[in-house]
């Protein structure tokens, strides 16, 4: 199956749509791909009979049988390693790693094998796999249920890294990732599985159902990898972000009345550099926001790219709002999380410059 080209955007204007949360959208994408492509295999810890600890694979085993959707031993190294072998055979495995914090035992298989298979065999063997994994904090997950390890993967030549921020995008991007012939790391921000999050943790979470981006078209569609989404057009500054932080950034800009242009990157690698450049050249200011720790985080790459490409358009230094350089704490979660206060300060600094 060919990769979706950058311009091949499916028109969904007339497709019937219904409200879904992000879990339902992911489940729908898996269902559609299992139906469309007999090579697609879903596997992981608790994904089969039980339907996944977040319910993302609910009812799929019942529908497609035990050899298409199945539970695995608790071995991330084995899950990814077996998926590499299945891909080499000609299947299109979609392994799940229960939490991104637990992907590390599978790193050797991802970095040394899946990412390099096409290169080292000059295209003889490929790894057309999509590794789904819930990531990010904001749920009192403590050190090992909150991490955002995306920079580990964007640093690896041969891997694509994707992070959706809405049910609509989650479905279209996951379908594109499964169809892609390169290995894709698909991080699902678990804080926004059930509803968008504006950063105010002390208020009840709003469910997705009334959000415009929760209207998910029925049936098959895909959103090309490598293309950012403009969440909001504006002129005062460019905000580069992804995942949960898209919603937090949007809420903060709304509250502060900042005419910011917010880009949801969606795919971190390959990066939509055109969208980034065009926006920063227009606004002259750039704010990078991610939940992951600061030092050598993906924000450093974004800041470097903006600085190299848009230097003469910049009115102020590129600002980064990130998690702190500590392991993810439990009790002090909201002191750690890059929330409205931290983002607000950075906005003031950028506008004051």
């Amino acid at each position: 199956m060919a990769t979706v080209s950058r311009d091949d955007v499916v028109s969904l204007a007339d497709a019937p749509a219904r409200p879904m949360n992000m879990i339902e959208a992911i489940n729908d994408a898996l269902d559609i791909m299992l139906e469309r492509d007999p090579d697609v295999i879903v596997m992981g810890e608790d994904v089969g009979y039980f339907g996944g600890v977040f319910r993302a694979t609910a009812s799929l085993q019942e529908k497609y049988g035990k050899t298409r959707v199945f539970d695995t031993p608790i071995s991330e190294n084995g899950i990814i390693g077996a998926a590499v072998g299945m891909g080499a055979y000609g299947l299109r495995p979609v392994p799940e790693i229960q939490f991104a914090d637990y992907i590390y035992p599978g790193l050797d298989q991802l970095i040394s094998e899946a990412a390099r298979l096409r290169y080292r065999s000059a295209g003889e063997f490929i790894a057309p796999m999509t590794v789904r994994s819930p990531f990010g904090g904001g749920i009192f997950g403590g050190q090992t249920h909150s991490q955002s390890p995306e920079a580990i993967f964007t640093h690896v030549a041969g891997l694509k890294t994707v992070v959706p921020s809405t049910p609509h995008d989650a479905k279209g991007l996951l379908i594109a990732a499964i169809e892609d012939n390169d290995p894709v790391i698909f991080f699902e921000p678990k804080r926004i599985y059930n509803g968008p999050f504006d950063g105010y943790y002390d208020k009840p979470t709003k469910p997705w159902k009334d959000h415009p981006d929760a209207r998910v078209p029925e049936g098959y569609y895909s959103i090309p990898l490598g293309k950012a989404r403009t969440v909001r057009e504006g002129h005062a500054m460019t905000v580069l972000t992804y995942g949960t932080m898209v919603h937090v950034a949007e809420a903060v800009c709304r509250e502060k009345g900042v005419d910011a242009e917010i880009l949801d990157l969606r795919t971190l690698l390959p990066l939509d550099i055109e969208a980034v450049e065009n926006s920063v050249e227009k606004t002259g200011r750039c704010l990078v926001i991610h939940e992951a720790t600061r030092t050598s985080g993906f924000g450093a790459e974004l800041a470097a790219q903006v600085q190299e490409r848009c230097f003469y358009h910049l009115e102020a230094p590129v600002e980064r709002v990130t998690g702190f350089d500590t392991p993810y704490p439990h009790s002090l979660e909201w002191a750690y999380f890059p929330g409205p206060i931290r983002i607000g300060e950075a906005i003031d600094k950028l506008l004051g410059a």
């Binding site: 299945m86 050797d108 094998e113 096409r118 290169y119 065999s121 000059a122 063997f125």
Partner: protein
């Protein structure tokens, strides 16, 4: 409270860490009498469909077919035709001739690196002869015999070793990290044991598809200490995957003897017992035992009776690689004293004892094979040797990272080509 540090509690015995030590170091006289070498033909051969536990005694025994009388003995005798035996002998001898020439090539500066498999030729050649040609093999770096047994062109192998413009891997891979989809030979990785769960995944895929092909993988005894070995064995047992695990126990992992992989306490085949899969420990220098065990495991896998672990008990007769000098850590006598002899010599003597071969024919074959390798080497050198400029175009360095070149690799490719033009103006 006991005083911390020195001695812990006053009245407790002092603990002592055990660090394994090989029996012989450089200069030591070698005595391998502690290695039991059972009589050929004395080991039972259970049915291929037996319960895994029925093979437990074979995990600590040593399956042998060829005896000191150079004849085949017992239930594991695969009863091969003389033609088949001569074919295996030729492939093993060709593998050795190839190793000799490539080793010299590295010493002459034609390439950066080489690894021989001297003394272990049976573990790849005889195994390959026992598998179907489309069974997928997931080798480590010391199974060049499989490619040779599957008639992969020597020219392609040498092009890869020289990283020249004829190298179909485009000079991206360290020498000997071959790949050939057409020969069902999986791309070799430098990362040890990663191929083990991959082979299991391939075998699972074959079962999901109701295919008839099986997978086989090879790793050294040193690599069995990697986590991937455990996860591969676990997955194979859980899903009853049609896969054969070949542990090549050649006694040495670079400079570490097999004790550092756990050999002081048990055998590597015995690992199978704990996973609940079939296990066989065989004389890895006996090509008939290797063939028979592989055939048994392949038939078992093909009939949905699941995985088998085969420990090939053998000896790494040469250094680990061209970057290694074994005289720095082991006695030079080991190679001569090795009780299981040499796999090529043993098969040659067997054929002679059958009246199907002679010393003259062997000499003639060796001469012809050396010529064949020499001719292939000369042909490959027309495509260049490492570092002499006849490599693939710079742009190929950026291809195949992804299916399509993303913008950042296009940019970097332009830079590499610009640098080239600065260095060598046209």
């Amino acid at each position: 409270m006991a005083k911390q540090g020195e001695g812990g509690g006053y009245n407790r015995p002092r603990l002592a860490l055990h660090v394994p030590e090989p029996k012989f170091r450089p200069g030591d006289a070698v005595d391998f009498s502690h290695i039991p070498v059972p009589q050929a033909g004395a080991q039972m051969r259970p049915d291929e469909a037996c319960a895994p536990s029925d093979t437990n005694p074979l995990c600590t025994d040593l399956v042998r077919v060829l005896g000191d009388d150079h004849q085949a003995h017992g239930p594991w005798d695969p009863r091969l035709t003389p033609d088949k035996l001569r074919g295996m002998l030729r492939h093993m001898a060709l593998t050795r001739a190839f190793d000799e020439r490539m080793y010299r090539g590295q010493r002459q500066g034609k390439t950066s690196f080489y690894m021989k498999c001297t003394g272990e030729e049976a573990t790849s050649v005889a195994a390959a002869h026992a598998l179907a040609s489309d069974d997928m093999v997931f080798p480590s770096y010391r199974q060049q015999g499989i490619l040779i047994a599957r008639d992969y062109p020597l020219l392609e192998m040498i092009n890869q070793i020289y990283s020249n413009r004829g190298d179909k891997l485009k000079g991206r891979q360290l020498p000997i990290m071959y790949s050939s989809r057409a020969h069902s030979f999986f791309t070799i990785s430098g990362n040890l044991a990663t191929q083990v769960p991959q082979a299991v995944g391939w075998a699972m895929a074959s079962a999901i598809r109701h295919d008839s092909r099986i997978a086989a993988t090879w790793l050294g005894e040193g690599s069995t200490a990697e986590g991937d070995f455990h996860s591969g064995m676990t997955f194979a047992a859980v899903y009853n995957a049609p896969v054969i695990f070949n542990v090549i126990n050649n006694q040495w992992a670079i400079s570490s003897f097999s004790g550092f992989a756990g050999a002081e306490r048990t055998t590597f085949a015995a690992r199978a017992i704990g996973y609940g899969i079939a296990g066989l420990r065989i004389d890895g220098n006996d090509p008939l035992a290797v063939y028979a065990a592989t055939r048994w495991a392949a038939d078992r896998a093909r009939s949905n009776n699941g995985p088998t672990l085969i420990e090939h008990f053998t000896y790494r007769a040469e250094g680990h690689s061209t970057s290694d000098d074994p005289s720095a850590y082991r006695s030079a006598q080991e190679r001569e004293e090795w009780p299981l002899g040499d796999p090529i010599m043993r098969l040659k003597q067997h054929l002679i004892a059958l009246g199907e071969w002679s010393e003259e024919q062997q000499q003639e074959m060796d001469r012809a094979l050396a010529e064949q390798v020499k001719a292939a080497t000369k042909e490959a050198e027309k495509n260049g040797i490492l570092g002499h400029g006849l490599h693939h175009p710079f742009h190929t360095m950026f291809e195949d990272v992804f299916e399509e070149l993303p913008w950042h690799l296009e940019e970097q490719a332009e830079q590499a080509i610009r640098e080239r033009q600065i260095k060598w103006p046209q």
